[in-house]
């Protein structure tokens, strides 16, 4: 046992399997949550039929879980695995197969640098993260925007008009919102520079948000940079291709957009990638703006309990944000393509620059 726990390689392997498992599970259940919430909002019950033989037969819990659709993701997953996988004849086969992989991997990669908790021991605080690297946020921004290559590739490799349009839209949209997103993050890091020593490490940022101003107001970024938070959130919606910004998919005018020609498991990869993106995006938002695992006014205890608690707090906040994603999707109609571009370039970008300059001056004033 000791040997296993002391071997860094095996430990890292266990940790990453655990994290991947949790995130994949969350992605599967995010799909269920999406369908359920969508159903409730529209006055429907949502998926409520799928039943596991043994668990579903338990007296009271069984029907309850079945009504809640708890078993639905398993059926969905199984369906994706065993479905026939047709490849249309007109596609560019190599890139066609490559595209779902390319869009899935970045989504999975970003989770490595996202801290999701902390472990307080006698000799200091340890972050719970797969890779605690100093350029954390840069890494996330860089890798997550690689995901768009998968979509563009899919659009192009499909070799038909609707996916192609979807791919083009995706690239334009990503570029537009990436700028505002990056700019809206800068003030956060400048603000916490005194506490973090100016590093881009996500863990330090979250830790810095654990303090309180005058011992009352929790130092969560969202409280004193609401505009930045809003810009980041909107860009996040755009970057994850969520309604009202789901231009690349836009099923009313583009059939299914970039994934029109995809089916079965390849489509499943796109789907999973999208939801993983949402989960990681929510995680980043929680870490940067909502204080991560910090609770207002309450400090976390040391040891295992504190670690578990910190992860739970982080997960609850993330889930709340995922709910917001779903909730917004079933509330707002999709923007028109030119409106999306307008909003990105003419509204969000200037706003982000103004926000940046404002906090630049503010921070300079405070420090002098």
């Amino acid at each position: 046992m000791d040997f296993i726990l002391e071997n860094p390689l095996i430990l890292a392997l266990i940790k990453s399997l655990l994290v991947v498992g949790v995130v994949m599970g969350m992605a599967a259940y995010a799909v269920l949550a999406e369908r359920k919430v969508c159903g409730w909002i529209q006055g429907r019950p949502g998926p409520n039929r799928t039943k596991l033989p043994l668990l579903g037969d338990l007296p009271i819990i069984g029907p309850f879980l079945t009504r809640l659709g708890i078993f639905q993701p398993m059926a969905d997953g199984l369906k994706f695995l065993v479905k026939e996988e047709p490849t249309p004849g007109h596609v560019k086969r190599f890139y066609y197969v490559l595209a779902p992989i390319v869009s899935f991997i970045p989504a999975m990669t970003t989770m490595t640098v996202l801290p999701f908790g902390l472990w307080k021991t006698a000799d200091g605080v340890q972050p719970l993260v797969l890779a605690n690297i100093d350029i954390g946020i840069l890494f996330i921004l860089a890798v997550s925007s690689l995901g768009v290559y998968g979509i563009i590739l899919a659009g192009w490799a499909s070799n038909s008009k609707y996916p192609f349009l979807g791919g083009i839209r995706a690239s334009a949209q990503m570029i537009s919102y990436e700028l505002a997103m990056g700019l809206s993050l800068l003030p956060v890091f400048m603000w916490f520079a005194p506490e973090t020593g100016g590093s881009l490490n996500l863990f330090n940022i979250v830790q810095a948000q654990g303090n309180h101003y005058w011992n009352v107001i929790p130092q969560w970024t969202v409280f004193f940079q609401p505009l930045g938070a809003l810009i980041f959130l909107v860009s996040l919606f755009a970057e994850t291709n969520r309604a009202p910004f789901d231009m690349p998919e836009s099923e009313t005018d583009l059939v299914a957009g970039f994934n029109t020609e995809y089916g079965a498991f390849k489509f499943g990869l796109f789907f999973l990638g999208e939801y993983t993106h949402i989960i990681i995006g929510s995680g980043v938002f929680v870490a940067l703006f909502l204080g991560g695992w910090n609770l207002p006014w309450i400090g976390l205890p040391a040891g295992i309990l504190g670690a578990v608690l910190s992860v739970l707090v982080f997960l609850v906040k993330t889930c709340a944000l995922i709910f917001l994603f779903i909730w917004v999707r079933w509330t707002l109609p999709r923007f028109r393509y030119d409106q999306v571009m307008n909003l990105g370039w003419k509204k969000l970008l200037p706003l982000a620059v103004a926000n940046f300059v404002l906090y630049l001056i503010l921070i300079a004033l405070i420090e002098s």
Partner: protein
């Protein structure tokens, strides 16, 4: 006519930011989440069929158990998709309703053709064919989807019609008034 000029205030910046509308929409959808669902969960719950519903066409008997159809074949002719096929037959001598003279030997409605238009019911002079409340009719083969006479009467049942047209006719004939 006096016209009323509607004052259109320009939107304030806050309104133009689109945010209040988003918040309003979010509020509405959030409230909706807790309202009871309107779904009819089909196989367990069944819809209530309103009177006058045009379901599967069926044949009916009168309360005495006499089949009402006199095999006039009007429905066969009116049926737009030609779903009905009737083989007319004579009513045997010893039957009580011999005076009706004709009745269907075979009566088939092909439910793969029927479009539920209700014209057969409308045209029938005897009120013998009725589109009732069966809204779901399924089968595994084409043959199964053709309702024969027996099936039609099974589905149709009895029409609670107290007029007894043919009994009166017989009565009148017996009383020496055949053209009643």
């Amino acid at each position: 006519m006096a016209t009323k000029v509607v004052e259109r205030k320009p939107l304030s910046i806050w309104e133009r930011s689109y945010l209040p509308q988003i918040v309003g929409g979010l509020k509405i959808t959030f409230k909706n989440m807790f309202k009871p669902t309107v779904t009819l969960e089909y196989p367990e719950e069944r819809p209530e069929i309103p009177p006058g519903y045009r379901g599967v066409p069926t044949l009916v008997r009168d309360p005495n158990g006499r089949e009402k159809c006199v095999s006039c074949q009007l429905c066969e002719f009116v049926c737009p998709p030609k779903a009905i096929r009737i083989t007319p037959g004579e009513i045997p001598e010893e039957s009580e309703s011999r005076h009706v003279e004709k009745g269907p030997q075979e009566f088939e409605i092909n439910m793969l053709r029927c479009i539920y238009c209700g014209l057969c019911q409308e045209v029938c002079p005897e009120e013998a064919i009725w589109l009732q409340d069966i809204y779901s009719f399924t089968g595994y083969s084409r043959e199964e989807m053709v309702n024969d006479k027996q099936k039609l009467y099974e589905l149709g049942g009895t029409l609670p019609d107290p007029y007894y047209k043919w009994d009166r006719k017989k009565q009148a004939e017996l009383e020496g008034n055949p053209h009643h």
